[in-house]
């Protein structure tokens, strides 16, 4: 590696090269910053495949922005014209069907990748010091992406768009005192129509670009604190790390291509798995569908909403299920990060995943009959994991011994 030539009048430590890039770099060190953060950047050497999802999410976000921009150019945000304009994109616009298929598949897999990314953070304790801000910006992104997805689902103005909006705005209306005002702020008039749709079109667009801004913060935070790793111990020497390029660029590329294969298979061959056929019927305020169901990624929260015997209570519990994640760095005080070394938390965390899936199943069955009980027990476990098990485990859990260094542990593995 060449030592950066640093003899010029500029005191920037890493001003590289001559010519145009050097000239730019001495004035705004973008080239050396890129080299420092994406080429020479030291990463723990033991990252597994779950660490691919950061790169995957970035790429899907770019895909969503690119396809969304072109969809927006052909979309009409009025209650009379929205459905027809989406049909025209799908049928008459050249390549429009592919553009829309990418956007729809992208939305679903964005949320799927986000949940896996979140699970990785939970499993390996990536929320603990010094990564609290990384965790919090990630959660803000989760909430923003959910809001963006919800707003986006309104736009085709099909039956599920309309009646999903109806359920959510009425749920917001159940907030004591300010509910009616909040509902009016969302709907913009006394019924779901032009004002609402136009509002959510703008919000969908706006939120998407705000997500990009927060992703910037999130990435800055991970570059400042460094990536966590499956062992949950900090790299101590250079032996514990590898440079981002070529090691993790090649690994991310493999991960991205596998993801692209799953993406393509769903989009080209099994689009029905991800789309709700009922939304191909235009919104009809006079005809309530027999079965109002949100997209799969909202089902766990829908399960919570329905398992609670009060509309406002359900809303509070659903919101709390997200809010409790924000308090996680302060609920879990154990100094050991990775669940590999925490026998109680490891089992508890798999229970949490099961509870999340069961809540989704309860939501899908509208918490009817036995599903009501399942939904309540799963909901109870969800909160108990964060509020009881984790704080308690920090005290009573006998953790397994941590390896002395990443290098020592990985050499042992190999």
């Amino acid at each position: 590696m060449k030592t950066p030539d640093n003899t010029g009048e500029c005191s920037t430590p890493a001003s590289t090269g001559s010519g145009l890039t050097g000239w730019i770099d001495r004035r705004l060190p973008v080239v050396s910053a890129f080299r420092a953060e994406y080429i020479d950047f030291r990463m723990p050497r033991n990252l597994n495949w779950l660490w691919n999802f950061g790169a995957i999410l970035t790429v899907v976000l770019l895909l969503m922005l690119a396809t969304g921009t072109f969809l927006a150019m052909n979309y009409t945000p009025t209650s009379a014209g929205a459905f027809a304009s989406v049909e025209a994109i799908d049928r008459q616009l050249s390549g429009g069907w592919l553009l829309r298929a990418m956007h729809m598949t992208g939305a679903n897999l964005f949320l799927a990748a986000l949940y896996i990314h979140l699970f990785r953070g939970l499993y390996y304790g990536s929320y603990k010091a010094p990564r609290e801000i990384l965790w919090l910006t990630g959660l803000i992104l989760l909430v923003m992406v959910m809001a963006t997805a919800f707003a986006g689902y309104m736009l085709p103005w099909g039956q599920m768009s309309y009646w999903g909006a109806d359920v959510i705005t009425k749920a917001v209306g159940a907030v004591p005192l300010i509910g009616a005002t909040l509902e009016h702020v969302l709907t913009g008039s006394d019924h779901l129509g032009d004002v609402f749709l136009h509002r959510f079109f703008v919000l969908h667009f706006l939120l998407a670009f705000l997500v990009v801004a927060v992703v910037g913060l999130h990435v800055a935070a991970v570059h400042f604190s460094g990536s966590n790793n499956p062992l949950g111990i900090e790299p101590k020497t250079k032996k514990d790390t590898l440079t981002f390029h070529p090691y993790y660029t090649t690994k991310d590329l493999v991960g991205l291509l596998v993801f692209a294969l799953v993406f393509s298979a769903l989009m080209f061959f099994w689009p029905g798995i991800l789309t709700e056929a009922a939304n191909y019927a235009p919104a009809d305020p006079m005809h309530t569908p027999a079965d109002i169901e949100p997209e799969w990624y909202f089902l766990p929260y829908y399960g919570l909403l329905q398992s609670v015997p009060s509309k406002f209570g359900g809303l509070v519990v659903s919101a709390a299920s997200l809010l409790v994640l924000f308090a996680l760095p302060w609920l879990d005080r154990s100094p050991v990060r990775s669940a590999r070394f925490r026998p109680i938390c490891r089992v508890g965390l798999f229970g949490l995943v099961a509870a999340f899936v069961l809540l989704a199943a309860a939501g899908k069955h509208h918490a009817e009959g036995g599903w009501m009980l399942v939904g309540r027990l799963a909901g109870l476990y969800y909160f108990a994991y964060f509020l009881v098990l984790l704080p308690l485990a920090s005290r009573i859990e006998k953790t397994r011994p941590l390896p002395s260094s990443i290098a020592a542990a990985t050499q042992g593995d190999a």
């Binding site: 050497r45 027809a84 049909e87 025209a88 049928r91 008459q92 069907w97 592919l98 298929a101 009646w163 359920v167 009425k170 749920a171 159940a174 032996k239 590898l242 070529p246 090691y247 090649t250 690994k251 590329l253 493999v254 291509l257 596998v258 692209a260 294969l261 393509s264 298979a265 989009m267 080209f268 061959f269 099994w270 689009p271 056929a277 009922a278 191909y280 019927a281 009809d284 006079m286 005809h287 309530t288 569908p289 027999a290 109002i292 909403l305 329905q306 398992s307 609670v308 015997p309 509309k311 359900g314 509208h366 918490a367 009817e368 009959g369 009501m372 190999a414």
Partner: protein, 258 residues
């Protein structure tokens, strides 16, 4: 259920009970499974069947059902020539702008026009058709549970006279595959009521198969193209993945030394 849960659902349930504009079928009515060339991840529409199916749609279904998302030009997707499309569009009279005296006018259709709807509005359709507007068929095969299988079963499922013990209501007909077995729509297909130019015998079953194929195409017109592009995309990605894996393995060999 004893506990009053989420009020929204109760509201939704009441609304659903009071309005039933479309002939929804209960989940228990599962039609027999048919073999379709367009089924499965690599399925393709049979062009001959699509063209015969369009003929059935154009001569029979379109007298009551709209298909307003489609334009005549979209029929290139079933292999119609541009000349045939232009001729077809010209044969349809479509409402034009009011003339100088404000009188409504009619004009021949153009290839870019959307399919002519049989009624000026849903309300007008409902008024003429016994209170229920015939559903638009643009996405009917996608929305209807069991799509193609149900359409075929329904089109061939009229029983005249109805089986013994079946409920009888004046003005309604018996069909095995609708909720309550009663429907206002008369059986649309009859043996030999149209003649296929390709010589295929136009039995009720054949017409039902063809028009079902056409309706599934209408609800998913890019399926052939989607499957074709999908195969090449997946092959290309697999090739890239092979290269990427080789590069990754080669790179990570060096990591052991570091």
């Amino acid at each position: 259920m004893a506990r009053p849960h989420s009020t929204l659902l109760v509201v939704a349930g009441l609304a659903a009970a009071s309005v039933s504009a479309q002939a929804a079928i209960p989940e228990s009515l599962v039609p027999p499974q048919q073999t379709w060339s367009f089924d499965g991840p690599l399925g393709r529409f049979d062009q001959g069947s699509l063209q015969r199916g369009f003929m059935v749609y154009d001569r029979i279904c379109s007298t009551c059902h709209g298909m307003k998302s489609l334009t005549y030009n979209d029929l290139r997707g079933i292999g119609m020539t541009q000349q045939a499309i232009t001729d077809l569009a010209h044969s349809k009279m479509i409402a034009g702008p009011p003339d100088v005296t404000g009188q409504p006018t009619m004009r021949p259709g153009l290839p870019d026009d959307h399919f002519r709807s049989p009624f000026p509005s849903d309300a007008a359709a409902a008024a003429v058709m016994g209170g229920v507007a015939p559903p638009d068929q643009s996405r009917l095969a996608a929305i209807q549970p069991h799509g193609a299988d149900w359409l075929y079963a329904f089109l061939t499922g009229y029983k005249m006279p109805p089986p013994a013990g079946a409920p009888m209501v004046p003005g309604k007909l018996y069909n095995d595959w609708v909720d309550g077995h009663l429907i206002g729509m008369p059986p649309p297909l009859m043996n030999g009521m149209i003649q296929y130019p390709d010589g295929t015998p136009a039995t009720v079953e054949q017409q039902a198969r063809d028009v079902t194929t056409f309706l599934v195409w209408a609800s998913d017109p890019h399926r052939n193209e989607r499957h074709r592009i999908g195969v090449s995309t997946v092959l290309y990605l697999l090739f890239l993945l092979g290269l990427a894996i080789a590069w990754k393995l080669k790179t990570w060999k060096r990591a052991k030394a570091q």
